[in-house]
Symmetry: D2
Subunit: 293 residues, 4 copies
């Protein structure tokens, strides 16, 4: 359930801690420390206060906190023995339905990571695709202990920022959402291309999975962003525009088969909270795209 910031500022310390303590995995002391800093002017400053409590904690407590996080795609997750938040987060990126081979790979990475650093690998999965989690895993395994401790805390920051943003409403919300959008301009006639079907695919290895579909409206745009109201998962994507039918329906000479039919634009997202506008400017014989804003 969600609370308003005003209510959280007003309620007893116990109620306050009860309302938001589960945003920091198994660490009720974080909410308790933050309770004393109230009132908060913004939701962002509430979150900063909670992170401040983590940063100010003694090393052993921090380590205990990190160790309270479940393995990514681990046996506990498989068995359902993790918190609800963790469960939803891991399933959002398909970690609850890995092939045996992928499960084994995560298992082996988890073991190597814990052996080296003494705590489980923590990553804000909602800012990633499966592929980019694996890239992160390999890279962070190569870190030294101090660098990786900081990296883990940074991921805690991302995870809890999202949880707070989902649980508390009020002034000064943290910026947690990215946006992926497009538009199609028919430069053959100098007007928006209307009614063009667009599919968005996400890559996992060489396989592309369709994750969104839309049709351009009278302004050549989609009514809603292709991804919005959530972080953009770091990863590789492909937009596919059915542009051949658009020109065919207008009776334009375009060859048989048409020189351009399905136009794929393949790109990666690196900034989960960024704005990616990836348009298509198109004639039957040419096109261009760019990262716009």
């Amino acid at each position: 359930m969600t609370n308003t910031l005003a209510d959280l500022n007003r309620m007893s310390s116990t109620s306050f801690a009860g309302a938001i303590s589960d945003t920091f995995e198994l660490a009720p002391w974080v909410a308790e420390a933050a309770a004393a800093k109230r009132p908060f002017a913004t939701v962002t400053s509430l979150h900063e206060a909670m992170m401040g409590a983590v940063r100010a904690a003694p090393r052993e407590r921090q380590l205990e906190f990190l160790c309270g996080h479940p393995d990514l795609a681990g046996k506990a997750a498989r068995a359902g023995a993790i918190t609800d938040d963790s469960k939803h987060e891991q399933s959002s990126v398909g970690l609850d339905s890995l092939s045996e081979a992928d499960f084994a790979r995560f298992h082996s990475l988890n073991d190597a990571y814990k052996a080296k650093f003494g705590f489980p690998f923590i990553v804000c999965v909602r800012r990633h695709t499966r592929d980019s989690i694996l890239v992160q895993f390999e890279r962070r395994l190569a870190h030294d202990a101090a660098t990786e401790f900081a990296a883990a805390l940074q991921e805690i920051f991302y995870i809890t920022r999202l949880r707070i943003a989902a649980r508390v409403t009020g002034e000064g919300m943290p910026k947690v959402n990215g946006r992926l959008s497009t538009h199609v301009l028919d430069t053959h006639v100098g007007r928006p291309a209307v009614g063009v079907p667009i599919d968005l695919y996400e890559f996992a290895g060489e396989a592309a999975h369709r994750i969104a579909s839309a049709v351009t409206n009278s302004d050549g745009r989609t009514d809603r962003p292709l991804i919005g109201d959530r972080p953009l998962p770091i990863g590789r994507y492909e937009l596919r525009f059915s542009i051949g039918d658009h020109f065919r329906s207008r009776g334009i000479e375009q060859g048989d088969p048409p020189f351009l039919d399905i136009v794929p634009l393949r790109f990666s997202i690196a900034e989960p909270e960024g704005h990616y506008h990836v348009p298509l400017l198109c004639t039957p014989w040419s096109y261009s795209t760019y990262r716009g804003s």
Copy 2:
């Protein structure tokens, strides 16, 4: 073996017919008729004379000629019981190694076609991909008899033009070759992009098969056309440019993962004897392409 046009003009009628009669499938009378029209100023006029003999023949002889062609991907082809030229042509497009399902589909189309028109389906396979042959098959099955008879003769024209061009050298060669080329311009620095790996894929249904690879030279071009010295098979293609590594090697900020890494350009070829120049103009954040010349 090849002959020069000069030699063909000089030799006895019998030798002449012997040298080139197999260009017109099982129809030695075509070469015999052409022998009397010698000398030929150009290879093109030799071919025209042979086609003229076909066009001037009585209807029954034309029909017999058409019936002398093997089924496409038929049982004779499977059993090896067709002429060498036919064998090479059918294998060039993979008709000698179809799946059982595809074989069955061709078999059923062949039967329907012969039942309707009284002669086997003839198509110049070297001007097609497997997909476009199937498209042609379906379309031509819908023809009326007169239209299809003309279509079959037109394919004979394409087939024999290629065979003549392979068998005879001399002035006025028929134009049988297309060209697919590309170049990569790095508009981030206003210079050709050097050393960029490029792969060319051909589509069969949803599956893409790599059919050529190249690396750009100091002029941003490939040393040879991606396809040249032969007809461009009608069909769908994709060029893939490994542009991410190009910018990475120059230390350019491009995001992590890079916004653009493998750039696919998907297009169709409709003119087997045409020139298709499909370049990539690229920065780490934008690109464009067009059909050039």
Copy 3:
């Protein structure tokens, strides 16, 4: 002064006519006829009712109405002996400050026009540049009488629609404003180009006059449209972007002198009530533009 539609609907016929009769040049009978059609649900329907009165009038009255309009750039205008509305309109396009040669040209066109059609040349000058008025003048002189009579009434429609829109506020305002806008995208870094000075020039013959200036904001756009809140005068324009300084300030290699410094985009506007978005997508070595929306 402006009135609300509600007030106009409520007031006496005499007050109503007094309030808006001068929108139809020297023709109080138009407002009087419209008074009887009240109430009007929209400002557009008020205007339509007034135009309806003109269209329903006997031919002689229509002719007298047309004849009540002053010569364009005529002697009356020079002497100040025309209505205030006409004065502002003619000065908006520089017709009050023509060279002697241009004055003579208008004078001669006016004479020829009146000799042929029996009424003065009427054009909604606020939808035109000086050049396009001259183009219109020449074209319309070639009309037959019926075509030109209709063309004159259409211009009356445009003129009075603008006057009504300026004099009356309320529901259903007529659409009289166009919009010219731009934005600058730096595709060298995939972000909006901030702080780029832009000048807009209007052409009169070969001479270009600067009519607006702006600097791109943090979104690569201008805070206000380059032209907005009024019709876009039909004519030729040039946008000039100082892009060389933009890349120089970022230390980008661009040649000395820079390959691109001031980038001119030259285009024409043909739809006064249209939206013209003319962006610049730019690296130090390449650029593109298009009519967007």
Copy 4:
């Protein structure tokens, strides 16, 4: 007159010096020193040997050599009292026909330069426009003595390289020519734009002077480079393409007046011996350009 390198290698020292000594302004000792180094395998090595003689000369002789050069746009030039080579070079860039104001500006710069450095300002005018000479003049006045002495010798190198290339033919010609070219692609139909008139303008201050014209051929190119067979003068240029007529003649809807009519591409040349390919890719509603190769 021109000599072959072979002849120059064979002839007497006196004849050799007589044949080429005037390439180094009033310095016959340069050719005499080079005579002893014969034979030369390439024209480039002949030129290098002559420059080597200059570089090896004592400082006083170098200074005397520099002082033998005429003032740029100076009184001697006006009076015709300079060598033929200097005369042609100065007139190529309009220095023989300056306005009184420009003449006065050059005069004052010459005086300041000579007062500071003790020798006249030397620049290879054929690698410059009037504007870039003035830019160079101002910049080089700010040099210290050693830097400017080297700069003057570098200009001597450019001047004499051109003179040698014009006077001697043979193996290993020095690279002295740049190339400016263009092509026009009609991306509305995916084919070269044929018959498009193109004008090339050079800027002097705000004034643009037409220096070349051409019409695109069947390949969308011009039969000859717009500038070739000589250095590209450093400076600002504008290509103007009459693209409106091209689309009008094909009956394409493009607005009235057409959205695009004369398309100007404004750019600078910074490398006199470089290749600049500046194409136009165009529809009636969009275009792009880039520095290609």
